[in-house]
């Protein structure tokens, strides 16, 4: 597969190496001449110096035959422009962009970026996993539907302890999909009673996350 990576900071450089290592053809575009020179020293003719959001540079990189363009510069506006130019003017099959500001996530998707990687969100979910108590852990984002798969552990003092799944009043667009008990995982059938320490996996929308969290962990 032919992939164009725009932005050779730490993320772009590692990404380029990883893609090359699994046998993809890669062009890495970097604006800064010094940084680009360093990439060229390390990876050879893969590096192309230029502004990845400009049509001339994308043309030189052969954007029209690229199956994937990945924009990972440190500026959200540049990453959006790269994807929009690739898609709009070169019909690149798929575009992927890094966003720093979480509020740009939905905007980028609205404006046609196929896959949005939210660095803040990723770091946050890693931190959440490390924080022991009462965290709502983001497991996966279902991008196309703007939904999230989350997990949390039922605390001992939660109002839902001892209640069955059918007694729960769930927020809109939120569903429990799996309950993991000490004995093992089980589907959330109506009579299943929740106990302290059960791990619950649920699907929800970003706006209802807090409500879901309160439903499952709130004290009466």
């Amino acid at each position: 597969m032919y992939v164009i990576v725009v932005g050779c900071g730490r993320i772009g450089l590692h990404l380029t190496k990883a893609l090359l290592a699994v046998g993809h053809e890669v062009t890495a575009i970097e604006k800064d001449p010094v940084r680009c020179h360093n990439v060229a020293d390390e990876l050879g003719s893969v590096a192309l110096q230029g502004d990845g959001s400009s049509l001339d540079t994308l043309k030189e990189a052969g954007a029209s035959r690229a199956e994937l363009v990945i924009a990972v510069t440190d500026a959200d506006a540049v990453n959006l422009a790269v994807c929009q130019m690739a898609k709009g003017m070169f019909n690149t099959t798929r575009t992927m962009a890094l966003v720093k500001n979480p509020s740009h996530d939905a905007l980028f998707r609205l404006l046609g970026v196929d896959r949005v990687i939210n660095s803040t969100h990723l770091i946050l979910s890693n931190i959440e996993e490390e924080v022991p108590s009462r965290a709502l852990i983001h497991l996966l984002g279902l991008q196309r539907h703007s939904m999230d798969i989350v997990a949390l552990s039922i605390p001992p003092d939660a109002a839902v302890v001892g209640k069955s799944v059918s007694e729960l009043v769930m927020p809109p667009n939120s569903f429990i999909t799996l309950v993991v008990k000490d004995e093992g995982p089980t589907l959330p059938h109506e009579d299943l009673v929740l106990h302290a320490g059960d791990d619950v996996v649920a699907v929800t929308v970003p706006d209802e996350e807090q409500a879901l969290y309160e439903t499952l962990t709130g004290v009466e």
């Binding site: 400009s54 506006a77 959006l80 422009a81 709009g88 500001n101 905007l107």
Partner: protein
Amino acid sequence: MQVLILGCGELVQHIAPALIGESYQVIILDEHQRCPDPTPRYPGAETVPSTGVLMEDLQRCDIDDVDAFLALSEDDNQNAMAAQIASHIFSVPKVICHVGNPSKYNAYKNMGLNVVSSTATVSENMLLYLKDLGCM
């Protein structure tokens, strides 16, 4: 009429006083806050430090109530993103985006943005002028 302008280059320095003269209410978003002393230069215009691409900044400027948004900074990518936020997220009735690089003009036009390019306009005028002078 309320107009929100992103940028503070020569274009803005020219257009802001003109709009103020026509009794528009003007707010200028300037990333570096390097507007040359906005108060005496543009009496009545408010200057806010912002890149124009942060939704919180735009909300603070009451973007929901503005009649027009002009993205006129010197950074094409920033202009395009700010203009698309203004039109797609905040539904500002009139949005105009400036791009310096004329090759991007069509790209953004195809995406439904109202685009102006000073470079393209000046080049066209130059060529017409040269033709008039018999140089071409």
